[in-house]
């Protein structure tokens, strides 16, 4: 009698553990929870696909963006990756070095692929498309028209106007985050505007030594330090504010300028005190060409996952205008598909500015050690802000460290 009880308990435990025999194809999609993306959308996308494809189950797992990298790394390193995952395109380098991702055109239809805008193809590495772009946006300058109407043509003009309208704490001239964040902004904006870059480019297109400490880089960082400590046009407490913490100050209407991305309108829409905003390109330094930053997120398909073919079918379904355009609307990013790009809702001033900025923008350097390199450069920025080192010394130290980790 007792033995039977034990078996029943064991069985109950196993069943409680959710021991499921999956016989249907099941596509798991690690879905990044972009601001503005609703649960309803996710669920209706899931239901619609399953209704149209009764033999395939799809589980769209919502995961906060800040947790995505860790979850993805663990799943991949643990040998159980999902079929699909939203990733920052720059993560592809690492994934490719371990041959973890599948070339997109192996499972996605030609129709879908030919509908992708050429400018969004950051994930085309060495001629192969390793990820399907899902969100792509250049960075722009947002101008608070309630405070100023000046559209600066150079960084020096921006600085002058910021000084003029700066009346803390009611109005700040410029929003500039001073606390480390995953992304190397805002330094990147100033660096590119100064005509600088992170790495020297070799003849064959590969990346050489780190050149953040070039005169352009030093000029950019010095400019940032001056804005914060000499001119004091930057928001108070900037050292303790990363990008996410500081942008709401603009949404509130308390800043004249902010360098920001496509999400600005969807982030501001719930705030009644939002400023009347005009959009422009991030200005270059005097004498330099305009150059901005463009960031793309992609959907990666993992080789080791079981149902990659079905995953491809799901992507074909998702990238139709009916779904992808709605996604783009909710998230606030310009569409990556040519057909969606023609739709009327994407012709507003914001989208026009984004389109214009994208034409002269470049992305992050696609190198494997980028995560560590940007961490080192961020620390250099902070050291300069804190006054612990001069911008030149900080960047020299950073460049040396970056070269060291890359083995140069």
């Amino acid at each position: 009698m007792r033995r039977r009880i034990v078996w029943v308990l064991v069985l109950a435990l196993l069943l409680a553990g959710g021991f499921a025999w999956a016989q249907k194809a099941k596509v798991t999609f690690f879905w990044a929870m972009y601001d503005g993306l609703t649960e309803d959308f996710r669920e209706s996308l899931q239901d619609a696909f399953m209704a149209a494809n009764p033999s395939i189950d799809v589980d769209i797992v919502p995961i906060d963006w800040n947790l995505m990298q860790e979850k993805m790394t663990t799943s991949v390193a643990g040998g159980q990756p999902p079929e699909l995952c939203v990733i920052g395109t720059r993560w592809l380098l690492d994934l490719m070095s371990t041959d973890s991702v599948l070339e997109v055109d192996k499972v996605v239809s030609k129709a879908t692929l030919s509908n992708i805008a050429a400018g969004a193809m950051e994930a085309k590495i060495k001629g192969k498309l390793m990820g399907l772009p899902i969100a792509a946006g250049a960075r722009i300058l947002a101008i608070n028209n309630d405070v100023t109407k000046v559209v600066p043509k150079t960084m020096e003009e921006l600085r002058a106007e910021a000084k003029k309208v700066n009346k803390p704490p009611k109005t700040y001239g410029l929003i500039m985050p001073g606390k480390k964040f995953t992304e190397l902004t805002d330094f990147c904006y100033y660096l590119y505007s100064a005509g600088g870059d992170y790495f020297a480019k070799n003849a064959d297109g590969s990346y050489g030594k780190c050149v953040v400490n070039s005169p352009a880089g030093v000029k950019a960082l010095q400019f940032m330090v001056d804005l914060a400590t000499k001119d004091k046009v930057v928001q108070e407490g900037y050292l303790g504010l990363n990008r996410m913490d500081s942008h709401p100050i603009y949404y509130e209407g308390r800043a004249a300028y902010v360098m920001i991305g496509a999400w600005v309108e969807s982030a501001m829409k719930d705030i009644a005190t939002k400023p009347k905003t005009q959009y422009a390109l991030i200005p270059p330094f005097a004498g330099q060409k305009q150059s901005g930053l463009i960031i793309t997120d992609s959907v990666a398909i993992f080789k080791k996952a079981k149902y990659t073919k079905e995953a491809g079918k799901f992507l074909d379904f998702f990238y139709q205008d009916a779904w992808k355009a709605k996604f783009d609307e909710l998230v606030g990013f310009p569409p990556v598909t040519i057909s969606a790009g023609k739709l009327p809702q994407f012709q507003s001033p914001l989208y026009q500015a984004l389109g214009k900025a994208a034409m002269s923008a470049k992305g992050w350097p696609l190198i494997e050690e980028w995560a560590e390199a940007s961490d080192i450069i961020w620390d250099a920025n902070v050291k300069a802000f804190l006054g612990q080192m001069s911008p030149k010394a900080a960047l020299d130290e950073a460049a040396a460290k970056v070269d060291k980790i890359r083995g140069m």
Binding site: L95, K179, K180, Y238, L239, G240, E368, D379, V382
Partner: protein, 303 residues
């Protein structure tokens, strides 16, 4: 009869020992079953070069360790981990003791007070860290706003932006989270001290301070030891608080071993340096534990 006189076989296999093994088996099996592989794996990885999928690539022996130990930053981080732990545990223990003493006094509404003291512990650590980040926010945070408005501190620092305030801010959150646990453990122990000890002390004219040092403290001595030891182990490895508040910043001023380890593993995908740090952590904590265990077992024998 001394232990040595009993034959080994009998020492290993008498009825009492057999019962002990049976009672211990479930816990030990679960623990070893799940932890043996990860622990061995971590030690092995520290001796290899790995790829970005944490797979072994090349045996390099102690070279990973040598590289780390030669790095000046590594020593700074290790030193910081040590004094982070020392300060946090010391303050937690003292404050926890005070809280426990306060909650040991009978008065109407004590139950409610006890419930409220649990709040810092009742919230998940990452969530508490995020919410404290909101409290520390330079523009929208109520801490600086209140300090300025009440005149307590006219010009409070940017808590998470400068090295020393950031360290203080982080360590306070860690302490804040840890107080209820200490208080609870001490309180439960205080409940077990017989009332008549206090009664006779009162009749003898002993004052409150003496009561504490001669009755209360000795009565919960073993609990204080265990609680502080475990707290040291947990605090040393407290990852979420610092990572969420400052990510180890500004410019590495709040980085401790566990946060650096995490960055290496999950941000840079450099699993070998991460494993080296895990192993170093292990040795440091083992040394600490042996020290503690000596005191504990010596005290056990005495009682």
């Amino acid at each position: 009869m001394s232990e040595a006189a009993i034959p080994l076989r009998q020492r290993l296999w008498n009825p009492e020992a057999r019962l002990a093994y049976v009672l211990l088996a479930p816990a030990v099996l679960v623990l070893l079953g799940f932890m043996i592989y990860p622990i061995v794996y971590v030690f092995l990885i520290s001796l290899f070069k790995t790829n970005k999928l944490a797979q072994f690539k090349e045996f390099v022996g102690l070279r990973n360790f040598v590289n780390q130990l030669a790095d000046k930053e590594f020593w700074q981080i290790t030193a910081r981990s040590l004094y982070w732990t020392a300060i946090a545990v010391a303050v937690k223990t003292v404050l926890g003791m005070i809280v426990a003493l306060l909650l040991n006094v009978k008065y109407a509404g004590r139950k409610f007070a006890r419930m409220l003291f649990i709040v810092p512990w009742a919230s998940a650590v990452p969530i508490s860290a995020i919410l404290w980040g909101w409290v520390y926010h330079p523009q929208y945070g109520l801490l600086n706003a209140t300090l300025k408005a009440t005149g307590i501190w006219a010009n409070p620092p940017t808590w998470l932006g400068r090295p020393l305030p950031a360290f203080t801010a982080c360590i306070w959150v860690d302490i804040w989270i840890g107080i209820p646990f200490m208080a609870l453990v001490f309180l439960a122990g205080m409940q077990a001290i017989a009332e008549d000890l206090y009664e006779s002390a009162y009749l003898d004219g002993v004052n409150a301070l003496q009561k504490f040092f001669y009755i209360t403290l000795p009565g919960i001595r073993h609990l204080v030891l265990i609680a502080t030891l475990l707290s040291c182990l947990w605090t040393f490895n407290d990852f979420n608080t610092i990572y969420i508040l400052t990510r180890g910043g500004p410019a590495g001023a709040t980085d401790i071993l566990i946060t650096k380890l995490y960055k290496n593993a999950f941000e840079f995908l450099k699993f070998s340096p991460a494993a080296v740090m895990a192993v170093v952590t292990f040795f440091i904590l083992t040394a600490l534990s042996i020290l503690y265990a000596r005191i504990y077992f010596r005290q056990e024998q005495a009682s």
